[in-house]
């Protein structure tokens, strides 16, 4: 228990910077600004860690913990790399609104995991710092995550609450009407209000009134709000707010594209630069970046896979420790071989996460469990899948359970196996339906239920081709 408490003391201070080694400080001296170093060259970035950083010791619990923390989702980096252009676009837009005291709306879109919300946090901080430096009135900042709203119109209530913190007014009208009245007349309040509505598509209703009213608030003559909507769909403004175009108040769209291979690699290296040791082989990081960029471009995926790869190395070390203990027991029983123990231990050194660790982590994440499950199904369930595959070849899309049972009995007869009864067959189909391998419809009568396939024929063929029994059936 004290060990756990001691380990968690560091957790309470996540922002404390790790101590840098003297050699790294010396290497950083020729470059006057770190930003320039980052922009300067990938060669310099790649060469530096190999030359400067020593190998880490995965057996050290402290180093292992800090390496995992550097790659965890909740560890926000000090600066968001690869999104400078998007941040500058949003920041310039907000600066213009604050400077000229006029309302505006912005829509930010992109796939999940592309850094939208994180960039918005940075933009908020930069805007407040800039307003302080320029001597302008500080804007109020209101962040709303639309998934937490019980009703879609609650966003206006939150807006009222955000404003009432400074005004202290209380009226009994609807929140939307209060806002519309407030923005229709001149008021003494000079502050702008920055509203960041995350997960904006949760406000979509059938009549689209809430979303429309929210963006229309920026068109009132004395409106003082800067609205930033964040969602995933690129065409949300076009699909759900077509009237805004004719009213000349369509929001500006900023697109966060999915991360490319180079961007993912740069972000991973940026996170690992905080760590004073070299954890990953360069080829392993490159493999992870290429795979994730080809699949989704999701940075959360990349960070989780790197964490899994470290766990692969950790498991290998644990397994090696078990084998080493066994070997030491054998050595102690026969004293003559005692001299070979240091050589044995030397061969088992583990220093970095290599390409095979990363390949296993990628396989664990992206691999479908369907083939493994089919191979471990009981024999008659495999026959059921095989007969259903044969039955659905050709033009047929679905069948009744009774017809499938006839096909199943046919396969059993051709292989000289006694078939199960109709009740067992029905139970087996229900088990396969529960796992998502076939789809079973609803009917009062068991034999009249409709069956349709849910997985690919190639998966069944691939899973069952190794079994000699099925080579004639497939």
């Amino acid at each position: 228990m004290p060990v756990i408490a001691a380990k968690r003391t560091l957790r309470s201070h996540p922002s404390s910077p790790p101590r840098k080694s003297p050699r790294r400080c010396t290497a950083a001296t020729p470059n006057s600004t770190p930003t320039k170093n980052r922009l300067g060259g990938a060669d310099e970035n790649q060469a530096d860690p190999a030359a400067v950083k020593p190998k880490w010791n995965p057996k050290d619990g402290e180093q292992l913990k800090r390496a995992k923390m550097a790659l965890h989702l909740s560890t926000a980096p000090s600066s968001v790399v690869c999104r400078e252009e998007e941040q500058n676009m949003v920041l310039e837009f907000c600066k213009g609104c604050v400077e000229h005291q006029k309302a505006g709306s912005l829509y930010i879109c992109g796939c999940p995991g592309t850094g939208k919300s994180l960039s918005m946090e940075k933009v908020k901080d930069k805007l407040l710092n800039w307003a302080k430096e320029e001597g302008l009135p500080l804007p109020d900042v209101l962040s709303v995550n639309c998934t937490t709203l019980t009703n879609t119109s609650d966003i206006f209530t939150k807006q009222i609450l955000g404003l009432n913190q400074t005004q202290g007014k209380k009226v009994s009208a609807l929140p939307l009407q209060q806002l519309q009245n407030m923005y229709s007349q001149k008021s003494s309040v000079k502050n702008m209000t920055l509203i960041v509505a995350d997960e904006l598509d949760y406000l979509i209703t059938k009549d689209r009134a809430v979303l429309h009213d929210l963006f229309m608030l920026t068109t009132f003559p004395f409106s003082r709000c800067i609205l930033i909507g964040v969602a995933n769909a690129i065409d949300l403004a076009d699909r759900f707010l077509p009237r805004l175009t004719s009213l000349n108040c369509k929001p500006i769209v900023v697109n966060f594209r999915a991360y490319s291979k180079d961007q993912i690699l740069k972000i991973l290296e940026e996170r690992l630069n905080e760590f004073p040791y070299s954890v990953f082989q360069q080829q392993a990081l490159e493999l992870c970046a290429r795979k994730v960029a080809a699949t989704s471009g999701d940075m959360r995926n990349a960070l989780c896979i790197c964490g899994s790869a470290i766990e692969m190395l950790e498991a290998e070390i644990r397994e090696s420790a078990c084998n080493l203990n066994t070997s030491l027991e054998e050595i102690s029983s026969s004293r003559q071989n005692f001299a070979t123990a240091p050589d044995f231990m030397k061969k088992r050194e583990f220093d970095t996460v290599k390409t095979d660790h990363m390949a296993r982590a990628l396989s664990k994440t992206y691999r479908s469990p369907v083939v493994d499950t089919i191979q471990s199904l009981p024999h008659h369930q495999q026959i059921v899948l095989c007969s259903s595959m044969k039955h659905f070849r050709g033009a047929k899309k679905d069948a009744i359970l009774g017809e499938l049972y006839k096909s199943y009995v046919g396969v059993c007869k051709s292989c000289l196996i006694p078939p199960a009864g109709i009740l067992e067959f029905s139970n087996m189909c229900r088990v396969l339906n529960d796992q998502g391998l076939i789809k079973l419809g609803q009917s009062r009568e068991d034999k009249l239920r409709r069956v349709s396939p849910k997985i690919d024929e190639g998966d069944i063929t691939f899973a069952l081709q190794g079994i000699r029994f099925f080579q004639n059936c497939l």
């Binding site: 228990m1 756990i4 380990k7 968690r8 957790r11 309470s12 913990k65 995992k68 923390m69 965890h72 989702l73 909740s74 926000a76 796939c111 999940p112 995991g113 995550n145 998934t147 937490t148 019980t150 609650d154 997960e199 949760y202 995933n232 989704s296 959360r300 995926n301 989780c304 964490g307 766990e311 498991a315 397994e319 664990k364 994440t365 469990p369 369907v370 493994d372 499950t373 471990s376 199904l377 009981p378 024999h379 008659h380 369930q381 009774g402 049972y405 199960a420 009864g421 109709i422 009740l423 067992e424 139970n427 087996m428 088990v431 529960d434 796992q435 998502g436 391998l437 009062r444 009568e445």
Partner: protein, 413 residues
Amino acid sequence: MEQENHKIKAVSLLRSRICDPKFIFISESPESNYSKLKFMISSSVTEACNNSILLLGPRGSGKNAVLELVIQDLLQEYPDSVSVIRLNGLLHSDDISAFKEIARQLCMEHQLLFSKAASFDDNSQFMVAILKECGLAHKTVIFVLDEFHLFAQGKQRLLYSLLDAMQSITSQAVVLGISCRLDADQLLEKRVRSRFSHRKLLFLPPSIEDSQKLLMHILTLPIDSSFPHAYAVEFNRKVQNIIEDRRFKETLNKYLNVDSSVKHLLRFLFCAVSHMDLQTGFLSRENFEIAFTSIQRQPKLECLRNCSILELQILVCMKRLEVKEQSLCNFNSVMKEYISTLTSERYARHVCLRAFEHLIHRELICFTDNRGQSLSVEFRPVKLLISSAELHQGLRANTSCPPKLLKLMDREG
């Protein structure tokens, strides 16, 4: 009397083992799912990081049992650092009741007063606040979402809130989803799927060799002072002989070829052990044969065994009509076939109609549509629900079936 006591005690021991997941699923091998899951959750607790894991496998493969064992071990190792919140998709599949249940369990866990009148907003903000406080206190909250695929319906607010809270640096939580659907992570919305860490633990049924090892593990008695030494040695020798018997292996393979999950095997063992002969005090192969026969039921055959002769004749006539490519028929066409087939000892029409209605009640035949409720029974189309093979077996099993009917069926078959 002493002899009777240890025989009864042996049966009790075997049955309690079959019902004890700790005896079945705990394995110190690093490759077992128990060890993998325990390592994942332990490292989340000790290293104070968030994690989300998905346990996938067919029903009866031990997902919940292994998880409960791991949670018990963790509560013993870290009694002040772990709290568990349990949700079930069948009970809390809408977001409002799920958040209310989370708030109730969190209040019970931390000795707070739970308010039933709290709204959805209050409950969700309360959960986020408690997670923050637990993070500051270095306490890990484990969320167990049973029937995970049922939480993936609708807008998935609960999953989004849980996984989004785990992205923040202050909370310490582990979200465990348990599902029998292999594509449970494909059902997630894209924002939730992005936040889920795609750690999957696959629970597959054991192989034939593993099943036999499990049999030996469960059915052998310990050779210590709790049982007479000679009795225990003889018992284990007999169990070994039964398991190595070729006919027993055939029976077991026949049983496991349909469903090889652990729960299915345990039901078989429980049935066999319950029929152990208390006179001799030993298991025999007949116990397993009786268990196999009693589990492998054919309810339609049992239904046919109790039919009257007239009902069997009506079924044979319907089968003959089916063979003549008439898949749909009604009472009138069956009567026509009945009159033309059975030239002697025919019953009156109203008696045949009553037998026909009995068959409908037993669900050996059924109406093909529900639209003609107002029509008389005689004119509604019906469909036969048993196959030729089942009818064949039923006729043979019926002791009062006349031989002429069997010949008639053989000619058709």
